[in-house]
């Protein structure tokens, strides 16, 4: 069955689960290495990017 795009939940721009998990893990590992080098600002950037990659896509909020 084709996935619905009703309500604006268009899945087409999502990465696959495997891609998400792999890239997210890489970025978390990079962040840990940066923490060890006392570069917490750079580590934070990696973690933020990882979170953006892995989060569920937004859905249209229906207001009643």
């Amino acid at each position: 069955m084709p996935r619905t795009t009703m309500g604006g939940n268009d899945p087409d721009h999502q990465l696959s689960d495997e891609q998400k998990d792999k890239r997210e893990r890489e970025l978390r590992d990079e962040a840990k290495q940066l923490m060890r080098q006392n570069k917490s600002k750079e580590a934070n950037k990696r973690l933020r990017r990882a979170r953006n990659i892995s989060r569920e896509p937004s859905k249209y909020a229906q207001h009643h």
Binding site: G8, D10, H13, N38, N44, L47, R51, E56, Y60
Partner: protein
């Protein structure tokens, strides 16, 4: 024609830069089929013929779009006088800040207008706005001097956008960044805690959310709290994540050890250290 999905994926996993801020604004304009003129008024984009049939409806929406935008802009200038000040500044950063403000604050409200025809693009649109938030936060914000109207307007944009994203985890995540920018670290910790509480341990991002809070506490030299967060979260950690979780526990001790060694050698100064034990208390 721009490959929207490819461009989105490229930007999603790119280092923050001013060029990428501009690319992300351009992508959002492209998704919506509208664009800013040099004078920052809105117009229907020239590429509309090549896009989907809904674009014709956007053309019909033009009049309402212009009126809505003028009303909103007038309202924002009344509410935030800094916005009017930034509009008078002709530097490239001021122009960029205005575009980011209008994109993050005005476009989401535009999407919610009853007559707006591109609601099926809402998900991609909002996710691209999140990318823009991060690009602007890490690349544009550090370029702006303290207490300038540009910086105030950009911070307003971050806070206003964060408060209107529908999902709570996204909202607190973005608010955490905003409070970090204004150096309200109590609120930052609170936002990170809320995101962790609201994130299911099955979710892809669970370990990233946990590591983000842990990383913030370690950066703040709050090692005891960092360890407590890990121990409190332990029952929620899935078996597949245990190895990574254990690494965070060991790293807490490792980084705490390095921190104290640097203090003892005098190669690092810390406010906490000068306050004695109380400085490190949770």
């Amino acid at each position: 024609m721009l490959n929207i999905i490819k461009e989105y994926h490229d930007l999603l996993d790119s280092d923050a830069s001013l060029e990428n801020v501009d690319r992300t604004v351009a992508l959002i304009e492209y998704i919506l089929g509208i664009q800013w003129t040099e004078q920052l008024s809105l117009q229907i984009a020239a590429h509309r013929e090549g896009l989907m049939a809904e674009m014709e409806e956007v053309v019909l929406f033009q009049e309402q779009l212009d009126n809505d935008f003028k009303q909103y802009f007038h309202f924002y200038v009344m509410k935030y006088p800094e916005l009017g000040q930034v509009k008078e500044i002709t530097s490239p950063h001021a122009h960029r800040v205005l575009k980011v403000f209008l994109t993050l604050v005005f476009f989401p409200q535009l999407m919610e207008c009853d007559g707006f025809p591109l609601k099926s693009k809402y998900s991609l649109f909002l996710d691209t706005c999140l990318v823009l938030f991060h690009q602007a936060y890490f690349a544009l914000l550090p370029e702006l001097k303290t207490d300038t109207p540009e910086k105030k307007v950009l911070l307003l944009a971050f806070k206003a956008f964060a408060n209107q994203v529908p999902r709570e985890t996204d909202r607190y995540d973005l608010l955490g960044l905003y409070y970090e920018a204004v150096e309200d670290y109590g609120q930052v910790a609170d936002c990170h805690q809320k995101v962790l509480r609201l994130t299911h341990s099955d979710a892809h991002e669970f370990m990233t959310v946990l590591q983000t809070l842990w990383s913030f506490l370690v950066e703040q030299e709050r090692f005891r709290e960092a360890l407590c967060v890990l121990l409190e979260t332990y029952p929620r950690v899935l078996r597949r994540d245990l190895e990574e979780f254990n690494e965070l526990i060991l790293m807490t001790f490792e980084l705490q050890g390095k921190h104290y060694q640097a203090l003892l050698k005098g190669t690092y100064q810390s406010e906490n250290w000068h306050q004695g034990l109380e400085g490190y208390a949770a």
